[in-house]
């Protein structure tokens, strides 16, 4: 057995792609060695395999790999004994089978199968050495790694990878495995930090010494250690400003972790006069354009400092230079932003509305001026059934919402659209309700974000996105497979989130009905939304797939209601009575389906004169009254608790009578009873979808 190390050295890999690729390489190596029987018994992927990465390398370490594959004995079954041997003499069939397996007829065995006696051949396949397997199979795994964007670089070759491969290290114990990939052959030499190390290749002594040796070359290849060091150093440096803390920004910590090999943190400052600019602008410039962390005081207000993660250790010699340069870049960017902020305000949003006639939304859907009109009309219709909406402010917000697309600041910082419009609106005397709605119109941008602060903001956001989805669907531009160029799935996800978490009393049907221009588009949109509701329940709320299926089968137009039903079903599903009852429902549904039974609208339940049947009727009437009342007030927990009490009577019923009685009238009566029971809960969930073992 030997330790194994593989490292592939690359020119800087995009930070966003590293975590996925590191995990995939580990998974592929472990799967390969497992499939090839090269992992020892008791191998634990979590503790015996490790992966490392830096912007310039991906690596996998395995504590134990078998030196050779075990020999494999394969047994092939041949013809029946009575065909293979006549009177104890081998027939041509036996000879052919022995030849095919490369053994003599005398080596054939007889085995007993349920079908009788057969001849069989055992052959031993010699195991290959681990080095041989790795050299021949690992390149295929490397080539199969998924990259969001690939490149070619080798002349005359179609080889692609994320960036040019610079070197590979592949060690099995002391020995180099000369894996060949992308024009390179694995050796034992690796490279350290571009600047801090000597820049010369160094020899990796053993797989186990890899990480420490790299650290000696100023590369912290353990991602967790690097992330930890960045966070710790951010904290540490931040403490030099009294009372300050850095704005937590997990995404930026992650990005910086995968952008440096040897992190340090620098504290920079800027002139306090820039704090007169909106915080949103300052933070966007720092975070999105410079990768800086913002600092805030105890009151949550920005302080005139920033933290920059460097890819080099800071010393007394280099720190002042690096600090000064970073500060100058930031100052220039803030100056640009300030210029735009002031320049933009010379033209009020009100005047900019006209300019939207020159801004195309989509060539077949016209300009943003037209879109604004549609959003206004749609938002007004959606607002009709909702109490407490400031309709005048909503109309004004819709009219001004897109005007900031013509500002220089939004052209420069597109991620601030909406936000800039809201800020300008406020400073230009637009009502606070309208200004906030404009500000919030693109919220949530992702499932991690919150929802708009007001009903007006929520309605504006729903109307804008519904208009986009309806327009694109109307043109046949709906998402297909992994292609969603207009981010319509994200738009629909946001609508679902707003409906659920924004407490907006709207159904998807109402939205689609007002937004879609024809029936066919409406149908497509509703199907599309169904998937988004499912996504929300599963990915955001973590509801199990069978509960989602059960609840959605009972309707999804009212998303808030569907989510409430899902919560109640999820909570109830563990109970014994509930499991039994849902199994019974499945049975009832099957019986009804097989009988092709349709419940008449005026069907009534009358005493049957059969004890278990009458008991079930009585219990059902009791339960139905509770369910109807509870469901009306969306108290689904109470409704489900009541349904679960049916268990005793249902069990007794199925035990005591046969539904498919030969007497047609009796059969009809019993099917009616089952159909009424199934129908009574059909609006909450289709219990037949619930998986009992869950």
């Amino acid at each position: 057995m030997a330790e194994f190390l593989f490292e592939i050295g690359l020119e800087e890999v995009p930070a966003r792609m590293i975590p996925g690729a590191e995990a995939e390489l580990l998974r592929r190596v472990v799967a390969l060695l497992g499939k090839e029987h090269l992992l020892p018994e008791g191998f634990e992927a979590l503790s015996d395999a490790k992966s490392y990465s830096s912007p310039r390398r991906l690596a996998v370490y395995i504590s134990d790999v078998l030196a050779v594959q075990p020999d494999i004995t394969e047994e092939a079954t041949g013809p029946a004994v009575k065909i293979a041997f006549k009177d104890g003499v081998p027939t041509p069939a036996a000879e052919a089978f022995a030849k095919k397996n490369g053994i003599a007829v005398s080596e054939l065995k007889t085995i007993t199968t349920p079908k009788g006696e057969y001849i069989a051949a055992s052959t031993v396949k010699k195991g290959r050495s681990a080095a041989e397997v790795i050299a021949s199979e690992l390149p295929k795994e490397l080539a199969a790694i998924y990259w969001a964007k690939n490149m070619r670089w080798i002349p005359g070759s179609t080889q692609t990878f994320v960036r040019p491969v610079q070197w590979m290290v592949c060690l099995l114990g002391d020995a180099v495995v000369p894996v060949e990939f992308a024009g390179k052959t694995a050796e034992r030499v690796s490279f350290g930090h571009r600047v801090l190390s000597s820049g010369e290749a160094f020899e990796v002594q053993t797989p186990a010494s890899y990480l420490a040796q790299l650290e000696g070359e100023y590369v912290l290849a353990d991602v967790e250690a690097r992330r930890h060091k960045i966070r710790k150093t951010l904290d540490h440096v931040c403490r030099t400003v009294p009372g300050a803390r850095w704005r937590e920004d997990e995404a930026l910590v992650e990005k910086m972790t995968h952008l440096v090999e040897w992190p340090d943190v620098l504290l920079g400052s800027f002139e306090p006069e820039y704090l007169a600019l909106p915080e949103e602008v300052l933070v966007t410039v720092m975070r999105d354009h410079q990768n800086y962390f913002a600092l805030e005081g105890a009151d949550g207000k920005l302080l005139p400092y920033f933290l920059a993660v460097t890819n080099i250790s800071l010393t007394e010699a280099n720190a002042p230079i690096i600090k000064g340069n970073n500060e100058r870049v930031l100052r220039a960017r803030f100056n640009d932003a300030r210029f735009f902020w002031e320049f933009d305000q010379r033209t009020p949003l009100e005047e900019r509305v006209k300019l939207l006639e020159n801004v195309t939304f989509q060539k077949d859907l016209g300009t943003y001026a037209l879109k604004s009109e549609r959003i206004g009309a749609l938002a007004a219709k959606l607002a009709q059934g909702i109490d407490g909406v400031d309709t005048a402010a909503l109309a004004e917000a819709a009219r001004l919402a897109k005007a900031d697309l013509t500002t220089e600041l939004v052209k420069e910082f597109t991620e601030l659209q909406g936000v800039i419009g809201g800020l300008y609106a406020k400073s230009q005397g637009v009502s606070a309700v309208a200004a906030d709605a404009i500000y919030d119109q693109y919220t949530p941008a992702s499932m991690e974000d919150g929802v708009p602060r007001s009903l007006e903001g929520a309605l504006l956001g729903v109307a804008d996105r519904a208009d986009t989805i309806a327009g694109m669907f109307g043109l046949g531009l709906e998402p297909t497979g992994s292609k969603d160029p207009f981010a319509l799935r994200r738009a629909a996800n946001s609508i679902v989130k707003i409906l659920v978490e924004g407490e907006l009393a709207l159904t998807l049907q109402q939205i689609v009905e007002h937004a879609a221009k024809d029936e066919a588009t409406a149908t497509k949109m509703l199907n599309f939304f169904r998937d988004r509701v499912e996504f929300y329940m599963r990915e955001v709320n973590g509801t199990s797939y069978d509960v989602v299926a059960a609840v959605l089968a009972a309707g999804f137009y009212d998303v808030r209601d569907a989510v409430a039903r899902a919560a109640a079903v999820s909570a109830a599903r563990g109970g014994d009575d509930f499991i039994a009852v849902s199994a019974a429902f499945k049975r009832m549904k099957n019986i009804l389906t097989q009988a092709n039974f349709a419940l008449a609208a005026d069907a009534k339940l009358a005493p049957a004169g059969v004890a278990v049947e009458d008991a079930l009727i009585a219990k059902f009437n009791e339960v139905e009254a509770v369910v109807t009342k509870a469901a009306a007030s969306q108290d689904y927990a109470a409704a489900l608790a009541s349904i679960a009490t049916l268990r005793k009577e249902v069990d007794a019923f199925f035990e005591g009578v046969m539904v498919n009685d030969p007497d047609a009238a009796v059969r009809e009566r019993r099917l009616t009873l089952l159909a009424k029971i199934v129908a009574s809960v059909a609006a909450i969930a289709d219990f037949a979808e619930i998986v009992a073992a869950g």
Binding site: E11, E12, P14, A15, R16, P55, K149, M151, R152, W153, P155, G156, R163, P164, Q166, R194, V195, L196, G199, L259, V260, L266, Q290, N291, Y292, A308, T310, N311, I312, A317, N318, I321, I322, G324, N325, N326, R328, V329, L330, R331, A332, N335, D336, F339, N358, V359, T360, K363, T367
Partner: protein
């Protein structure tokens, strides 16, 4: 008071000399700037056309790049109507080309150990030229000083071999090495005898003022449209002729070789610059923009296809004839 680093720093022209010398010593042919208005060094035929086809090249040139909409009448310390890129094309790129690039920074006095260097993903795309590549923006102490791209496609065609492109923003780099807040304060030259210095402002400010005024205030919109249409017409006529020459007379190498694809390319570039002027003048609505860009794309991609075909025929035809030509 000037800091030590400012005193030692190269002037703007020394910076250019040094980088040119560095790349010349690493096998690059130094070409002169292309004598036509372009928006980026990439658009010079020394990049856009020469990355096509199989023939290896190493070439470097400083290319003035005009971006009318970025003009600020000389009043913004960081934005220019016309700036200068140093463009290096390495086809195919050598092994460890990044290390070579870092050496070029050391050559202009940047001591790497004193700075924070990061290669951050930044992929390049020029849809009008059917061109894209992957690469990085090279960040030095938070400032982007270089765009580094591995070209993958040009004129909508896969490239083989691919080219490595290194684009230095010379004004930014000079501001960086001279430690200055304004581009206009860059020391352009220093008289070796008297020590008298000329700044970027001394040399270039009047151009910025005048070209900004032309682009924003004076340019005649109707005439610009006429120019655009005329350039386009002539370019399209040439592209149509090219089909006859390449398809029907493909036996005649000299005729093929003399066919003025580069002339067609210049007409397409003129369209592109005229479009940019119209844009800066506020004369192109967003709706029109898409349509006009598609027209120019047709020209540029058309030129690239013909140029690539010419290169292919040249490579496969009789060497003797080519030498004679």
């Amino acid at each position: 008071m000037k800091s030590e680093s400012q005193k030692k720093a190269l002037t703007f022209q020394e910076l250019l000399f040094t980088l040119q010398k560095f790349w010349a010593e690493h096998g690059c042919v130094l070409q002169q700037p292309y004598d036509l208005e372009v928006g980026a060094g990439t658009m010079s035929p020394d990049t856009f056309l020469r990355v096509l086809g199989p023939k290896p090249i190493n070439i470097a040139y400083a290319q003035p790049s005009r971006r009318p909409a970025d003009g600020r009448y000389g009043e913004n310390p960081n934005r220019l109507f016309r700036h200068t890129q140093l463009q290096v094309i390495l086809k195919p790129p050598p092994e460890r080309v990044q290390e070579l690039y870092l050496q070029s920074l050391e050559a202009i006095g940047i001591v790497l150990a004193e700075h924070d260097i990061k290669f951050e993903e930044d992929n390049w795309e020029w849809p009008v030229g059917g061109a894209w590549g992957v690469g990085w923006q090279v960040m030095l102490d938070g400032q982007e000083i270089t765009q580094f791209t591995y070209f993958q496609q040009c004129g909508g065609m896969d490239l083989d071999p691919i080219s490595g492109e290194i684009t230095y923003g010379l004004e930014r780099l000079a501001q960086f090495v001279q430690d200055l807040d304004s581009v206009y304060d860059i020391v352009w030259s220093r008289d070796a005898v008297t020590g008298k210095e000329l700044t970027f402002g001394d040399v270039r400010l009047h151009e910025e003022q005048q070209f900004s005024a032309y682009a924003f205030d004076y340019a005649d919109v109707d005439k610009l449209w006429q120019h655009l249409n005329l350039y386009e017409e002539e370019c399209k006529a040439l592209l149509a002729r090219a089909k006859d020459v390449l398809v029907e007379e493909c036996g005649d190498t000299l005729t093929i070789l003399r066919f003025p694809t580069m002339g067609a390319y210049e007409l397409a570039l003129k369209c592109s610059h005229t479009f940019n002027l119209l844009d800066a003048r506020g004369a192109i609505s967003v709706t029109e923009r898409v349509g006009v860009m598609a027209r120019i794309r047709n020209l540029i991609v058309g030129v690239a296809k013909i140029y690539a075909e010419q290169e292919r025929l040249k490579a496969t035809s009789n060497e003797q004839t080519l030498v004679g030509a």
